[in-house]
């Protein structure tokens, strides 16, 4: 069952490539996408009920393909399916999903699912490259001639990042003789320190650039705003998250926790947070502002991965996906209703009440207000025993830095005059549903029992440590 989120979209992408244009084919493409999404969702539910590692064909770890069917993979895949499915439906509705683009999109889903599912370093490299190739092809579109250059730039950066990652993997393999993460855990002690440091640095660099961290922001700031709305949505919510989610498994391997290389990685992540917010602050274009803030958010995801654990990072990334996805998805209708500028957001309220509501809820979620999922990303470090001071300090600093541009956008969106409720477009309802999903998940965490309820005694105990 855990292999379904990879092989189902992969198989369906071959089928989709045979489809051309036309309404009937569009319906068929929609059915294939729905099947891929549902299959991934069912599989993630099964993984959540029975989390365990999976060996394809029953081969031993060192020879076969290993999958980590754990909670991290299951929840990531469930969210990937929801966001990807919504974006794909919107692309279909806008006539932006031909057979070829649909096939690429399905390939992208298979690759991002594979990247969080795999427990093998070489397979991770393959999935990361598949993500880049399909995403680069999707960025290029005829609506914006500049998108071809942006896609090319993305391809070059991805190639360099992929090569760095592969070199790191090969270096590790040459000393340990294995690519399986579970086996590697036991053999890292055999790897010389210098080689270990270099391989960690190369792999981290590859992952960072693919997630759009400094210096990868150079491709991200061009590719994300120039892609069509539904593609930008998947790029900014999922494509940058998948390498970060995969890094959670890698960075916490006991032997790979090397202070010097972690310090460099932390510095790069911090630089990305500051740079992303600074770039977002000076942007007047809404889509470019969102893209710059993605660099900052991914910097935070890596910082949390390194300093607060994978759960905090996953919460942050999931919260980010559920507000950045809708906002990019709505970029098309926003541009049509009010133009590309942030100040133009005041024009969305008279144009469509649903559009206005979806934008306002997503921006409130971006601010990290409760009960949105993004609030829990700020709260979770409280629950992690033994975290360093960097995670809470950077969460506070990041919130302060993002406040001016997010509040500015929210203020513009709220200041327009009230419009009437007309039949919403598919993008508007999809985006609203995604934003409400964040609200629902956050409310469940607020009301639900379990470890998220923390009493003051626990804080005192933590303080006294």
């Amino acid at each position: 069952m855990p292999v379904l989120p990879v092989i189902l979209p992969l198989g369906l992408s071959f089928l989709a490539s045979a489809l051309g244009e036309g309404k009937a084919r569009g319906t068929l493409l929609g059915a294939l996408a729905a099947l891929a999404s549902l299959g991934s969702l069912v599989s993630s539910a099964a993984m959540l009920l029975n989390p365990r590692p999976y060996h394809l064909g029953g081969w031993p770890s060192e020879l076969g393909i290993a999958l980590a069917g754990d909670e991290l993979a299951a929840t990531s895949i469930a969210l990937f399916s929801a966001v990807w499915g919504s974006s794909f439906a919107c692309a279909l509705a806008r006539g932006q999903a031909s057979g070829k683009r649909g096939s690429l999109s399905l390939l992208l889903l298979a690759a991002i699912n594979g990247a969080v599912l795999t427990a093998d370093l070489f397979n991770l490299y393959v999935f990361l490259e598949l993500i880049s190739i399909s995403a680069c092809a999707l960025v290029a579109n005829e609506e914006d001639p500049g998108s071809f250059e942006a896609a090319f730039r993305y391809l070059i950066f991805s190639f360099v990042a992929g090569s760095a990652f592969l070199l790191g993997v090969l270096l590790l393999f040459s000393h340990s003789g294995t690519l399986n993460l579970a086996v590697l855990r036991d053999r890292l002690g055999e790897v010389p320190k210098g080689a270990l440091e270099l391989s960690f640095a190369l792999m981290a660099l590859g992952l960072f650039v693919k997630s759009g961290l400094f210096p990868g922001h150079l491709w991200l700031l061009e590719a994300h705003p120039r892609a069509q709305g539904p593609v930008s949505s998947v790029l900014s919510a999922l494509v940058v998250w998948a390498p970060a989610a995969a890094s959670a498994r890698l960075f916490h391997l006991p032997g790979l926790e090397i202070p010097s290389t972690r310090a460099v990685a932390t510095a790069l992540a911090l630089l990305s947070v500051g740079l992303g917010h600074a770039l977002a602050l000076r942007e007047a274009n809404f889509k470019r502002m969102l893209a710059a803030s993605t660099t900052a958010s991914m910097g935070m995801v890596y910082l949390l991965t390194l300093h607060a654990g994978e759960t905090a990072a996953a919460l942050f990334a999931a919260g980010h996906a559920l507000y950045k996805g809708p906002l990019f998805l709505l970029s098309g209708p926003i541009k049509e209703a009010a133009g590309p500028g942030i100040r133009g957001l005041r024009g969305i309220r008279p144009a469509s009440a649903t559009l206005w509501l979806a934008v306002a809820i997503s921006l409130a979620s971006a601010l990290g207000l409760p009960p949105f999922l993004s609030f829990w990303a700020k709260a979770f470090p409280l629950l992690e025993p033994g975290i360093g001071p960097l995670a809470p300090i950077s969460l506070l600093a990041s919130a302060a830095l993002s406040l001016p541009y997010l509040i500015g956008a929210l203020r513009s969106a709220l200041s327009g005059k009230g419009g009437s409720w007309s039949r919403p477009k598919l993008e508007e309802s999809s985006a609203l549903l995604m934003a409400l999903l964040s609200l629902l998940l956050g409310t469940l965490l607020l009301l639900g029992p379990g470890p998220l309820r923390l009493d003051s005694a626990r804080i005192l105990e933590a303080m006294s440590r």
Binding site: P392, L395, L396
Partner: protein
């Protein structure tokens, strides 16, 4: 028991806001805002008793978010309020997480305390409160100045471990009392004056919170009494503003045909002054008991200073013949909320009157407060201010300065009279000195 009373108080304020919102906004907006106000009060009430730090902060921020939606019409106000809430919540969460990291306990507690001080609107992080509370629609002001800040102060006392940051709480509280009182006295806009008196009342709450467990009961009582009388006053001022289109202190015959409003105001101010047989009396007695352990000076300051602003309001109302008070038909939507709240302030009557000795002691303090309020007002009123220090400190002054330098005069709002800041600073410095001397002498 004290938490239960506070929860009930929050719920009562929320319920009272429902008919008032329906009257104030009218139609669909009225129904929406009534639901938002009720949900906000309910969320704050749940936060009072929530079992965990995260849940408490989440419920408080949720309450703020719901209340922010009532401010939708004023984007600037909404931006300021949301920014403050986001930063205060994040600072509190990050500070508590930081305090759990080895070696960062003091820094973490300080960050969390500053976050909560920002939420409660305490000096010097009160810069947003007078503007937001003063300019918001009256139902929102009523909830902001009662439930929202009280929830913040209560959460602060529960989240910051006893004995931690007590110096910061004490001095921020003392400065809030003096600054809020000084500024409140000098306002000519009644909503701004009430907002500054909230700063002063939060100062008392912080001084009580700095006492840890010993001040917990007095703190709950103080927050309950403050929530009830401040919500009543903001609603009453809102009635006048809505009916006459002008501020209470500028309107001609503000209470014509609306007799329940001045009655409720007098009851609320009487409770704020700690009149026997009102909730304010019990809360003041408890506060005095807790603060006498700090020193007589602080007990006197906390008992008298915050009431001075409201004493001046009462003096002005009485001097103005209670604004042309005349009888008229009861308007249930308009009057139900204020009547319900003012009636609740008189609930201690059911338990009987306090002993004559305690009543006499109160009369002495109340007379002092009234004399101080009249004297301070008369002294401060004729002086012009050279600089608007608070604006200068917190941003707007820089804008004004740049306008002045560019040769453009800044537009003045009606009733936004320039208070004489140098005198206020001098008075505050002298009062701080007097408190310090009195405390030292008492020990």
């Amino acid at each position: 028991m004290n938490l239960l009373a506070l929860e009930a108080g929050f719920a009562l304020v929320g319920l009272s806001c429902v008919p008032f919102c329906l009257w104030y906004f009218g139609g669909k907006v009225g129904r929406r805002n009534a639901a938002l106000c009720l949900a906000s009060a309910a969320s704050a009430a749940l936060a009072v008793r929530a079992e965990g730090a995260i849940t408490t902060l989440a419920l408080l921020e949720l309450s703020s978010l719901l209340l922010a939606l009532v401010l939708l019409k004023d984007g600037a106000l909404l931006s300021v309020y949301l920014s403050v809430q986001v930063m205060s919540g994040t600072a509190a969460l990050s500070g508590l997480a930081l305090a759990g990291c080895g070696g960062y306990r003091e820094l973490g507690v300080a960050v969390a305390t500053l976050g909560m001080l920002l939420k409660a609107g305490a000096f010097p992080l009160h810069f947003w409160l007078p503007r937001v509370h003063g300019d918001a629609p009256a139902p929102a002001s009523a909830l902001l100045s009662s439930v929202a800040v009280a929830g913040g102060a209560m959460a602060l006392s529960r989240l910051i471990p006893p004995g931690e940051a007590s110096g910061l709480l004490f001095w921020s509280g003392a400065a809030s009392i003096l600054w809020g009182t000084g500024q409140g006295l000098l306002q000519r806009d009644s909503k701004r004056a009430l907002a500054y008196s909230t700063v002063a009342a939060m100062g008392v709450a912080l001084v009580l919170a700095s006492r840890g467990e010993e001040g917990r009961l007095a703190l709950s009582a103080h927050l309950l009494a403050h929530a009830l009388y401040k919500a009543t006053l903001f609603m009453a001022v809102g009635v006048v503003e809505k009916s006459s289109g002008r501020d209470l202190l500028l309107a001609r015959d503000p209470f014509r045909g609306a007799w329940p409003i001045p009655v409720a105001m007098v009851v609320a101010i009487a409770s704020a002054l700690g009149t026997p047989a009102t909730i304010g009396f019990s809360s003041k007695e408890l506060s005095k008991e807790a603060l006498l352990q700090v020193g007589k000076g602080m007990a006197l300051l906390a008992g008298v200073a915050p009431t001075v602003v409201l004493g001046r309001l009462l003096a002005l109302l009485v001097a103005g013949g209670l604004g042309g008070l005349s009888s008229g038909a009861l308007n249930p939507r308009r009057d139900l909320g204020v009547l319900l709240l003012s009636a609740s302030l008189l609930l201690p009557i059911l338990a009987g009157l306090p002993p004559a000795e305690r009543a006499r002691a109160w009369a002495g303090e109340a007379a002092l407060a009234l004399k101080l309020s009249i004297a301070a007002y008369l002294l401060a009123r004729p002086l012009a201010r050279p600089w608007d220090l608070e604006d200068l400190l917190f941003g707007r002054g820089l804008l004004r300065m740049s306008r002045l330098l560019a040769g453009r005069a800044s537009p003045e709002r009606e009733g936004d009279e320039s208070p004489p800041y140098p005198l206020a600073i001098l008075a505050i410095s002298l009062a701080l000195l007097a408190v310090a001397v009195a405390n030292t002498a008492a020990r």
